[in-house]
């Protein structure tokens, strides 16, 4: 059932949500010495929102899995050690105007976080967050969401999906939480919404992204299974600096490190921090032996984990085609180029 909401209606809705004490996360313009950017931010009022503009430069990951989160605090006393869990329940939050690639990523990572052990450090924030997506109209040459099963207007992972139309947005409630949200703030929505007057820019964006990359994920996956030692891996790693900025910017990369941080002789905190397979430290043994000695093997691991291992085990490609790894790379690495080479080699092989 499709509602519709005007621009002013949305602003009023956001202000009401903020007033109710719920955290609102939305794309906002941030001024940096390196120029202006659109980033997901905790916003204080509706007029801070910037629902159009450049592609959002960060992802939603820092809000569901912060770069550093305390697991528990420990205190060592004569009587023994006492552990006290970190900060309490996560704050209720509403994400408004998120891109489809960022939201699909949350659902993809849910799978590994629920594999046998339920990771409530992830799900605590995940369950407290209602996600309202906005169909994307700002793709660039690095976007390839359509090549990995997603798209500018793909509803996956969103509780409510907004699609731009003249003077406002169409709103489609897709999940129970979404329906509850629309009911709770029903006063801001108009009942009827006709899918026809959806902004044509959305379709144009989809066509533009489709020209960036066309690959057969299944062929690449089977090619990867059999070509661990293929010589094409040797020239991917040369220009890569091995910093891991791609993994930190990536909405689906979820690897982490667990570190103890003493804040004094007797007490401290155990923290979970973002980590990346692109550094030597990730796999080096205490004896000094490192199964992944050079950068080529680490890039192979990153591509294999995303396009062969994760799909094999969880059924989803661990990539939503957002293109951030290409935009942040200082060495000029390009995942679209790597996938094209793999796609060609897969065809040649089969």
């Amino acid at each position: 059932m499709t509602f519709s909401i005007s621009d002013s209606g949305l602003n009023a809705l956001v202000d009401e949500v903020i007033a109710s004490g719920t955290t609102v996360i939305a794309p906002a313009v941030i001024k940096l010495s390196a120029g202006e950017r659109r980033e997901y931010q905790k916003i204080g009022s509706a007029e801070k929102m910037a629902l159009t503009g450049a592609i959002v430069s960060n992802s939603l990951k820092p809000f569901i899995m912060p770069p550093s989160v305390p697991l528990f605090r420990y205190t060592r006393a004569k009587a023994g050690v006492s552990l006290e869990p970190a900060a309490g329940k996560a704050q209720a939050a509403v994400v408004i105007g998120a891109q489809a690639c960022d939201i699909a990523a949350l659902e993809i990572v849910d799978r590994v976080m629920d594999w046998d052990y339920h990771d409530e450090v992830w799900f605590e924030r995940r369950k407290a967050t209602t996600v309202i997506s906005l169909a994307c109209t700002q793709a660039d040459a690095s976007c390839f969401c359509t090549a990995v099963g997603s798209g500018p207007d793909h509803p996956r992972g969103s509780d409510v999906q907004f699609l731009r139309k003249k003077g406002g947005y169409l709103a489609r409630a897709l999940t129970e939480t979404g329906k509850a949200f629309c009911a709770k703030y029903g006063s801001h929505f108009e009942k009827v919404g006709d899918d026809a007057d959806r902004d044509p820019l959305i379709k144009e964006t989809r066509e533009k992204v489709e020209t960036n990359l066309k690959i057969d994920l299944g062929a690449i996956r089977s090619f990867l299974t059999r070509n661990f030692d293929h010589e094409l891996w040797n020239d991917f790693g040369l220009r890569c600096h091995g910093c891991g900025a791609c993994a930190f910017a990536c909405p689906t990369c979820h690897c982490f490190d667990i570190v103890d941080e003493p804040e004094g002789i007797t007490h401290g905190v155990r923290r979970r921090n973002w980590d990346t397979c692109q550094t030597a430290k990730f796999t080096v043994h205490a004896s000094g032996h490192n199964p992944r000695k050079d950068q080529n093997s680490r890039i192979r691991q990153r591509v294999m984990h995303k396009f062969q291992i994760y799909p094999e085990r969880f059924g989803d490609v661990l990539c939503t085609g957002c293109g951030r790894c290409v935009r942040v790379c200082a060495g000029g690495m390009n995942l679209l180029e790597i996938l094209k080479v793999l796609g060609k080699s897969a065809e040649a092989k089969s």
Partner: protein, 276 residues
């Protein structure tokens, strides 16, 4: 309680196996936890020293002995140095048990050959005692254990005990040049001694653990003796952090070592990419 929060343990006993290897006997601080804690031989855990971090070791004591767990380690990093500084009565943390285990039930009714090198005896010891505590269920038990020098041998008292048992065939060896004048055991690398011992592979399984170089040269000897690859079990030692399949560190090929391992058959090892 969060899956990352360890159970609090008290150090109940410390045994120095050799100058750089130590075994800790740990008891659960919470008696209820001590009661209901159970594990299968071959599983590992994350041992926490608060302020230093966590490290990954197999549980070296057998599941047939209740009320405590043991781990053996060498001091070579921040967390193991923290472990080394612990004294009896100090408190630390333990998360686990994690991973799969040696299929001791499947091995019942046949022979078992245990092969270990250096500190690799720790995971194998758990299986050995698990088998010896239910000795009647198994046929011949052969143990082949080697170390670089006599000083590097671990679990010396238990080696003594095993050598006196009639129902266990124990071969002890040290690398050439590592023996002392009163050394009565074999002298030679483990693969050579396995060839010498030549255990029969009829209805037999093998459990092997030790430095990669030893495994690399012992597997061919075992297959020459007739052991098929799916009857040879080993435990893989690689870098881990969470131990429960989330942090991505132990992912090799399609396998998460902390979930699908650490126990693998030689057959499984063969089609893993060479990244361990």
């Amino acid at each position: 309680m969060s899956i990352y929060q360890p159970h609090l343990m008290r150090v109940d006993g410390i045994i120095d196996e050799n100058p750089d290897t130590r075994t800790l006997r740990l008891v659960f601080k919470d008696p209820a936890m001590a009661e209901q804690f159970d594990f299968r031989t071959g599983q590992f855990g994350e041992y926490s020293v608060f302020g230093a971090g966590e490290c990954t070791f197999c549980i070296a004591s057998p599941p047939t002995r209740k009320g405590y767990i043991e781990c053996s380690f060498k001091k070579c990093g921040k967390a193991t140095s923290g472990l080394r500084d612990l004294e009896v009565g100090d408190e630390m943390g333990f998360r686990g048990p994690y991973g799969n285990s040696f299929p001791v039930e499947q091995m019942e009714g046949g022979d078992i050959v245990f092969i270990a090198g250096g500190i690799g005896l720790a995971p194998v010891r758990s299986v050995i005692w698990n088998v010896l505590d239910r000795r009647e269920k198994y046929q011949n038990v052969t143990i082949i254990y080697g170390a670089r020098t006599t000083g590097d041998l671990v679990y010396k008292r238990e080696l003594e005990e095993w050598s006196r048992r009639a129902d266990v065939k124990l071969w002890q060896t040290v690398d050439p040049g590592g023996e002392t004048c009163d050394w009565k055991g074999q002298v030679g690398f483990v693969p050579a001694i396995v060839e010498k011992a030549a255990p029969s592979s009829k209805n037999a399984h093998a459990v092997i653990c030790g430095p990669p170089i030893m495994i690399k040269f012992t597997l061919p000897v075992l297959s020459k003796l007739g052991f098929s690859d799916d009857r040879v079990f080993t435990t893989l030692e690689n870098r881990m952090k969470c131990g429960l399949g989330k942090c991505g560190r132990c992912n090799i090929g399609e396998v998460y070592v902390c979930k699908d391992g650490p126990v693998f058959t030689a057959a499984q090892l063969k089609n893993l990419p060479p990244e361990y």
